[in-house]
């Protein structure tokens, strides 16, 4: 009986992990991972333990919201890099090859390391749904403290003045050792195909 229960629990766990859209939510613990970037160099998350905060934004090639978010991300990086904040991009798509990613990065001046999550393991574990989703991780606790857009500027085929600079507010809170007030925001971007995620439609 115990054997049956354990086995089935394991089965359910795997199925649930694949089925649930939001596996990791703000407040949750971020497990270590190692991924290669677009040039083939490998990066392990936990080697960034001396940073004050880690910002990771999801990207794909050909997504207008990513292309329009990148210049703002570069500007935020310029302001926060000297304060020990690390900025990375994560491409969890199946279709973008390393060569295509390098071409897109050069054409649109991404200027940041792009982690190639081509097995979609990080994307699945973090509950990534769209591109241009930003995750902020506090390396002191390896807790995810923010998941949402950079700000409320961009939407589909539109932009408007910023009223809520969510990302910089989250970074300011982490750098001041304060809790992040707004930790989860619905984010516009290109839906990413996660074929192994059950019950998508």
């Amino acid at each position: 009986m115990n054997f049956v229960k354990r086995t089935m629990l394991c089965g359910w766990w795997v199925a649930c992990a694949a089925a649930s859209a939001a596996v990791l939510v703000p407040g949750g613990h971020v497990a270590d991972f190692t991924l290669a970037d677009q040039t083939g160099a490998t990066h392990e998350l936990y080697t960034l333990s001396s940073k004050k905060a880690i910002v990771i934004m999801t990207v794909s090639n050909g997504c207008p919201i990513v292309r329009l978010a990148i210049p703002v991300m570069r500007e935020i990086r310029a302001r926060y890099e000297s304060r020990d904040v690390e900025f990375l991009l994560l491409n969890p798509t199946l279709q973008d090859t390393r060569e295509a990613v390098m071409q897109e990065a050069a054409e649109f001046g991404f200027g940041m390391t792009i982690l190639m999550d081509d097995k979609q393991t990080v994307g699945e574990a973090w509950g990534v749904n769209r591109t241009a989703e930003v995750f902020v991780i506090d390396p002191k606790t390896w807790m995810m403290v923010y998941h949402g857009p950079i700000d409320d500027r961009l939407n589909y085929e539109t932009q408007r003045p910023v009223h809520h600079p969510y990302l910089t507010e989250a970074l300011d809170a982490v750098l001041a050792n304060k809790p992040v007030a707004v930790s989860s925001v619905v984010s516009p971007g290109c839906l990413i195909n996660f074929p192994d995620r059950k019950h998508r439609y």
Partner: protein, 579 residues
């Protein structure tokens, strides 16, 4: 052992939300965005309601007693809860029901909840609606289902209880109940396994080639290229979303009014095939990949070498930000009058040029009289050249100046645009002038923080005319447009309904069969503006918005292209006044 297993299977289904045989959408699951027109032809998008506390969706059907009683109950509940931030929408996914028959049916019961017409059944299928009268309550903070089931049973008002819980921020106690209502006939729901057999090679790729690749190609304005199966598969969920929300293909006319020769939309069958293929997991199947064979050479000038090429000024497009409309005046180099039969544009930076409105001497102001028409031609991505009907033409006088309004979109990269306009001339003067009627209100003032403000202007034709095309124009706050003909005998007809106006796509709606309007017909053009924060394009909802050329101001401006039915004795001399 058996009971134990059953218990665990039940827990598993509850935990993972996988219960139900097909497309179930249970408490806790996320409702994907959609946009549908209601029985009055007004457009509703679910995610627009993100400022609400809860959204109640109901499956509605004509001639169903449970549906009628539920709709009446919700109508009463709406009076109580609407002021507290709850929106109510019904969705009719029944194949036999039309917007007209729906309007007729609810009129008797005094129901004023919008009834959305889900004619393709795609939304009803994905919501898991199987019976009319079923209710879904959605939390707009995360778009998860808070409740699904019957309206009430005995003394238990499930919907009111769930709304009270949602409004007070407490968990909904009874989140799923059984519904007894009329079965919704959904043929495709039973054909899920057949959808996995939809051929990418024979159905999907040819459809995309025909409707999408003109923009989704190398050098096209679309951000990504439909260049292979892998690309299409990667963007599949996004394709499904933009189709469900009517963002793509960019065609915004209500299909119930008028037939247009430049219709960019997918047919009903194509839409269903595409969405069902994606919902089946975008299977590759066998055969070649036609998208890898798409032609790489696109014609420079579709109509051949123009008689006159006009160079527009060069423009440096920045990487990001909002760019004001560019207004240019360019000299006409010709030393004699000519009649124009066709106009085409050759964009320099095709990926950034979003529209051009070309005029001769600028659009005419209301009341202005001139011996040439102002309107010349428009460019939007994917548009065909303007080809004026053979017996008509536009007079371009020597010394006239061309006016251009150019709208650029940013795409994360700095580029320089140098666009050309090609003009094609007639050998001899035409029988008719190709004319423009302008409906405008330069005194418009759109109130601040208002979701729907409508203004209109009317143009009365004093002679019998043949109408070729209709063009609504507004800026960031434009939300919906309509052209209605008011005939001399008193009856009215909708010529064009644009339930979701999209300023990014300045479409001229070209009638497949030009229509005759008798002398004395007035055409009322109306535009509804959304000056609220829910309009994601709105730069400042706190401002009362006046008329202005730039996108942060507004325009009530509509154009009808037409000719007189009776011959113009001397087309060049007949002045055209605007009203």
């Amino acid at each position: 052992m058996h009971a134990y297993l059953r218990y665990w299977r039940f827990s598993f289904m509850a935990l993972c939300g996988l219960a139900g045989p097909v497309l179930a959408l249970n408490s806790g699951d996320v409702v994907d965005d959609f946009r549908l027109n209601d029985q009055k032809g007004q457009s509703h998008e679910l995610y627009y309601l993100s400022d609400m506390k809860a959204v109640v969706l109901m499956a509605d059907g004509n001639g169903c007693a449970v549906s009628r009683s539920t709709a009446k109950s919700l109508n009463q509940l709406r009076a109580k809860y609407q002021a507290r931030g709850v929106e109510f929408l019904a969705i009719d996914s029944n194949l036999k029901d039309t917007p007209e028959s729906i309007a007729q049916e609810i009129k008797a019961d005094g129901i004023d909840i919008p009834i959305l017409s889900d004619e393709l059944q795609l939304i009803g299928e994905s919501l898991g609606f199987t019976r009319n009268g079923e209710v879904l309550i959605v939390n707009p903070q995360n778009w998860k289902v808070l409740y699904r089931g019957a309206y009430a049973k005995g003394s238990s008002n499930y919907v009111a209880d769930a709304l009270d819980a949602a409004l007070s921020g407490t968990p909904v106690k009874v989140a799923e109940t059984e519904v007894r209502g009329c079965n919704i006939v959904m043929p495709e729901r039973e054909r899920r396994s057949a959808h996995a057999q939809i051929s990418y090679e024979k159905s999907i790729a040819p459809m995309l080639s025909e409707h999408c690749v003109a923009c989704h190609r190398e050098g096209g304005i679309a951000p990504w290229q439909m260049s292979s199966y892998d690309m299409v598969r990667g963007f599949s969920p996004m394709i499904r979303e933009v189709v469900r929300t009517k963002r793509m293909p960019p065609w915004h006319a209500d299909p119930h009014y008028g037939v247009f020769s430049n219709d960019r939309s997918l047919t009903a069958e194509e839409t269903k095939t595409l969405v069902h293929w994606i919902e089946a997991g975008s299977p590759r199947g066998g055969g070649i990949d036609p998208l890898t064979l798409v032609k790489k050479d696109w014609p420079v000038w579709a109509l051949g070498k123009p008689d006159l090429v006009v160079n527009l000024p060069k423009f440096d497009v920045p990487a990001t930000g909002v760019i004001p409309y560019q207004m240019w005046t360019v000299d006409n180099p010709l030393d004699h009058d000519v009649w124009v039969r066709a106009v085409d544009f050759l964009p320099g930076a095709r990926s950034n040029l979003h529209h051009i409105i070309a005029t001769i001497g600028g659009e005419m102001a209301p009341g202005e009289k001139r011996d040439t028409d102002g309107s010349l031609a428009d460019f939007v991505p994917g548009s065909e050249p303007l080809q004026i009907p053979p017996e008509s033409g536009i007079l371009l006088k020597k010394g006239a100046k061309f006016g251009f309004q150019a709208h650029y979109t940013v795409n994360g990269k700095e580029v320089t645009d140098a666009t050309q306009m090609g003009l094609y001339f007639m050998d001899k003067p035409p029988q008719y002038r190709y004319r423009a009627a302008i409906m405008a209100n330069p005194r418009i003032k759109i109130p601040a923080n208002t979701k729907a403000y409508t203004n209109d202007a009317t143009y009365k034709f004093d002679r019998e005319v043949l109408v070729y095309s209709l063009h609504p124009h507004a800026h960031f706050r434009g939300a919906a447009a309509e052209f209605v003909a008011q005939y001399p005998d008193g009856h009215e007809a909708v010529l064009l309904n644009v339930p979701r106006y999209e300023f990014n796509w300045q479409t001229t709606y070209e009638l497949k069969t030009p229509i005759v309007l008798p002398a004395g017909t007035a055409v009322k053009y109306s535009m509804t503006y959304d000056n609220s924060t829910q309009n994601k394009a709105n730069p400042d909802p706190n401002r009362e918005v006046p008329w202005g050329q730039q996108t942060w101001d507004e325009m009530l401006f509509g154009v009808i292209r037409f000719r007189y039915l009776s011959l113009d004795a001397n087309p060049a001399r007949t002045a055209q006044a605007t009203q």
